[in-house]
């Protein structure tokens, strides 16, 4: 037991539990459904998770600082739409420039959020409810000359095929580029949160904002940048969204911000700040995505149960977190106290007798 407390932190135990649940779900549904362990399943699940995972990264960053972003879905929608329209008229834009365009637009939209929240001191929930409305309206206005839709057949060839590009194939398992991008993003964000001072300061601000202020952090700048990055990620999400679906309507991306919150919460991110990892949010997205797909394939339950079960899952995740994480932390603290006592003893023994 002490060995475990040495190697892992309670949060990592939580991640392992989430992973374990995913495995259970996969094994469980593998026995219930035919043709479950196929390449098709893998592709469907992985590509559906990809977009949510990227947006969940954005939500995780701001959640760690005790904020929230309800406008992410609108940013995804706008970037997807904007890019879609641009690509429809300019077939010469390639995949990389297109990504950069979407990211740039997303960053600008995230910047507006950041300015209002960090410097205008308007609470995040109010700001992002407002910007969500504004950005949705922007989509409507921007798409009006196009009749409110983007049609896949008017996109350049590469855009129509992008969703089926793969990085590599292992037997039946087809690892798509989209999925690769999403995983790369998750890894980058996780590295940032663990190894960059900026990432650690995000946790500090969420953990104790008062102490952060006194310690002299430029808290405003740090939160501002978090929303900036969040916007960029949402822009990337919009890029993937467009390439995944091809045909867009004005309601593109509606609800994504809530899916992102769900993924983060199920993955162990605390909405009150201070804890949570990118990997956790990714695992949360995977859990939800896998469960979602499996339920849809299961004839015993109609597909319409999807949301009901999802909502229940979120609630259970938070309820058990609240009950169990506190107890885990207590166990870890006791183990640490024991270790400290050992260290003190060892030191006393090694000292020459007075």
């Amino acid at each position: 037991m002490k060995f475990i407390t040495r190697i892992l932190r309670p949060e990592q135990v939580r991640e392992l539990v989430t992973l374990f649940l995913i495995v259970i779900i996969v094994l469980g549904f593998g026995t219930l459904l035919t043709d479950y362990y196929t390449g098709r399943t893998f592709v469907r699940v992985s590509t559906s998770i990809a977009i949510i995972a990227v947006v969940a990264m954005a939500q995780t960053l701001v959640a760690i600082t005790r904020n929230i972003d309800l406008s992410l879905g609108a940013i995804v929608g706008f970037c997807a739409f904007f890019l879609g329209v641009q690509l429809s008229y300019h077939h010469e834009i390639g995949p990389v420039p297109a990504a950069l365009i979407a990211i740039a637009i997303g960053t600008a939209m995230g910047m507006i959020n950041g300015l209002i929240i960090a410097y205008g001191r308007v609470p995040a929930i109010i700001t992002t409810i407002g910007t969500m409305a504004i950005y949705r309206t922007a989509i409507v206005l921007y798409s009006a000359p196009e009749g409110g839709i983007v049609s896949a057949h008017r996109l350049p060839m590469w855009a129509r095929q992008f969703a089926s590009w793969s990085i590599f194939k292992v037997g039946d398992l087809d690892f798509r580029v989209m999925v690769g991008i999403a995983i790369a993003v998750v890894i980058l964000i996780q590295l940032m949160l663990t190894y960059l001072p900026y990432g650690r300061r995000l946790y500090a601000i969420g953990s104790n904002p008062e102490a952060a202020r006194i310690a002299g952090f430029p808290a405003q700048r740090i939160v501002f940048i978090a929303y900036l990055i969040g916007g960029a990620l949402a822009g990337l999400g919009g890029y993937l969204f467009l390439l995944q679906y091809g045909n867009l309507m004005v309601l593109a991306g509606v609800g994504l911000e809530f899916d992102a919150v769900a993924a983060a919460v199920v993955g162990g991110v605390n909405i009150f700040g201070g804890t949570g990892t990118a990997i956790g949010a990714f695992l949360g997205a995977t859990l939800i995505g896998t469960l979602d797909y499996s339920l849809r394939r299961w004839p015993a339950i109609s597909e319409f149960w999807r949301n009901a079960i999802l909502g229940l899952l979120i609630l259970l995740a938070v309820a058990t977190d609240s009950a169990i994480m506190a107890r885990l932390r207590l166990i870890w603290a006791r183990a640490a106290a024991a270790r400290t006592a050992e260290m003190a003893e060892a030191k006393a023994r090694s000292m020459p007798q007075a």
Binding site: S207, G216, R329, R339
Partner: protein
């Protein structure tokens, strides 16, 4: 004599109506433990906030090593080597110990090197003579350990002046000794320590120099060897101590509250006492003795695990504040802001909050007029300084806020009134009024439990004194047999030993 490391010269600071500091000049020398004492409102925290850049002085200047500086924020103060540790723990519970120490460092490189950080943290703690698991989350640390981490953080930033605001208020006796050891080692390394303390015994134990502030002015600043406790108290208060406590004798009625074997796991054990009507039972002890926890158990906020509570002869289980109130128990908290009063609400609304059902008419609506009348009566009775009971509590002085808090619970017409540090943080005049009030209430037949860390106050006001030490009851002393030494000795865990009187 060496050069002072920090000089605050002719500092004045005014906040709207109050002159918080009036031409205060102070020199802090390296390698010296400098204690700053004074009553609440004397200006101590304002002075240190100016030293750490939280406030700007209206007049005067600050010099660091002879050079005049302007400190705009705590970052600049840190850069000059000035760091402060406040009563509220300024640690990050979600980060580990090592990170807490180094979190505000700018120059550790573009990437976080965890193993290096752990090593560096252990080194710094070793310099302080402390061992701790640096990988552990800061959440599980005790208050004493959190303080140590904050000190380690200051050391890592090459602090030259370490300011500590009431560092011992939440520590057990053992932890205080550890802290003092640490502070002495800091001094021996040439760091200047500015120490704000309330407990004169501790101040006299640790300080090399003692400075007294009163009402924003500097009254005296002398080496510890040249001054006595009485002199310091006189400087702090400005008049002779005896005047304050006037206890009138009161007839005690029958037993209203009996407590037998009251226990709460890991908090307090086997508390036993009887409380009579009209009696004042003092609860003495140092912070960490868990007296408040006993009160919270009696008031139903944190019910006890075992033991008996008997009110007017009937045995009861108290599981909620509503229940406690119905049984006639009222608890006046020590933390007005957090647990006592709703600051933006009017005085009258605060007073009627626990007893609101009594102020409803037949339709269940609040009778505002009646509320105002009752509040007015209280205002006059306790002499609360406010133009109107409709004003919000926020605007009142500490002493008047305490009075409003008292009114709130008097309105419940309790049989047992538990007062938790009722005169903490209020000015001298209000203190006297509160003491008179306690006398009056006892005379009316209310049983009073007075929790106080102010030994002279407990000795003067109580009929009997129950002493607690780290959750255990050390004994109950009658008024006649109680002396400061006996109570202090018991509070420190040695009921038989007798302490030397401070010279």
């Amino acid at each position: 004599m060496t050069e002072p490391i920090l000089e605050l010269l002719h500092i004045s600071k005014r906040f709207d109506m109050t002159q918080a500091l009036d031409d205060v000049s102070l020199a802090i020398y390296p390698g010296e433990i400098h204690a700053l004492v004074g009553e609440n409102g004397a200006g101590k925290s304002t002075l240190i906030k100016i030293a750490t850049g939280v406030h700007q002085p209206d007049t005067g200047e600050i010099r660091v090593q002879g050079r005049p500086v302007v400190i705009h924020n705590s970052q600049e103060a840190q850069a000059l080597g000035i760091a402060a540790i406040y009563q509220e723990p300024m640690i990050f519970p979600d980060l580990n110990v090592a990170e807490n120490i180094f979190i505000s460092h700018r120059s550790r490189g573009p990437f976080v090197r965890w193993n290096q950080m752990y090593k560096d943290a252990e080194e710094i703690l070793a310099k302080l003579g402390v061992v701790m698991d640096v990988r552990q989350s800061a959440q599980g640390l005790t208050v004493a350990q959190q303080q140590t981490v904050e000190i380690a953080r200051a050391i890592s930033l090459d602090v030259r002046v370490l300011i500590m605001d009431e560092p011992t208020s939440a520590l057990s006796l053992h932890e205080v000794q550890q802290l003092f050891k640490l502070v002495r080692s800091l001094r021996d390394r040439g760091i200047a320590v500015l120490f704000i303390g309330h407990r004169l015994e501790e101040v006299f134990e640790i300080a090399d120099r003692i400075t007294v502030l009163r009402d924003g002015k500097l009254i005296s600043s002398r080496p510890r060897s040249e001054v006595t406790v009485e002199q310091v108290i006189r400087d702090m208060v400005g008049r002779e101590v005896e005047e304050f406590f006037a206890k009138s004798s009161v007839q005690h009625g029958e037993v209203v509250l009996s407590v037998r074997g009251l226990t709460k796991q890991n908090v307090f054990y086997d508390v036993n006492f009887d409380l009579r009507r009209g009696e004042v039972l003092g609860f003495a002890g140092l912070v960490g003795s868990h007296r408040t926890d006993v009160a919270l158990a009696l008031f139903g906020i944190e019910p006890a695990d075992a033991g008996e509570i008997i009110i007017d002869g009937k045995s009861v289980r108290i599981r909620s504040p509503q229940q406690a109130m119905e049984l006639g128990i009222a608890y006046v908290t020590e933390d007005r802001r957090k647990y006592g009063l709703v600051m933006p609400m009017p005085i009258c609304a605060n007073i009627t909050l626990p007893t609101l059902p009594q102020f409803l008419n037949g339709l269940g609506l609040i009778q505002r007029q009646k509320e105002i009348e009752v509040a007015e009566q209280f205002r006059q009775r306790l002499n609360i300084m406010t133009p109107s009971v409709l004003n919000t509590v926020e605007r009142l002085s500490g002493g008047n806020q305490q009075k409003v808090l008292l009114c709130k619970w008097l309105n419940v017409q309790p049989k047992v009134l538990i007062l938790d540090e009722p005169t903490r943080g209020i000015d001298v005049g209000a203190k006297v009024e509160v003491h008179h009030m306690i006398n009056d209430l006892a005379a009316q037949g209310i049983g009073i439990i007075l929790i106080s860390s102010d030994l002279p106050e407990v000795l003067a006001m109580s009929d009997r004194i129950l002493v607690m030490h780290e959750g255990r009851q050390m004994g109950i002393y009658t008024r006649e047999e109680a002396t400061q030494e006996k109570i202090m000795a018991a509070a420190m865990g040695h009921p038989e030993a007798i302490l030397e009187r401070q010279a």
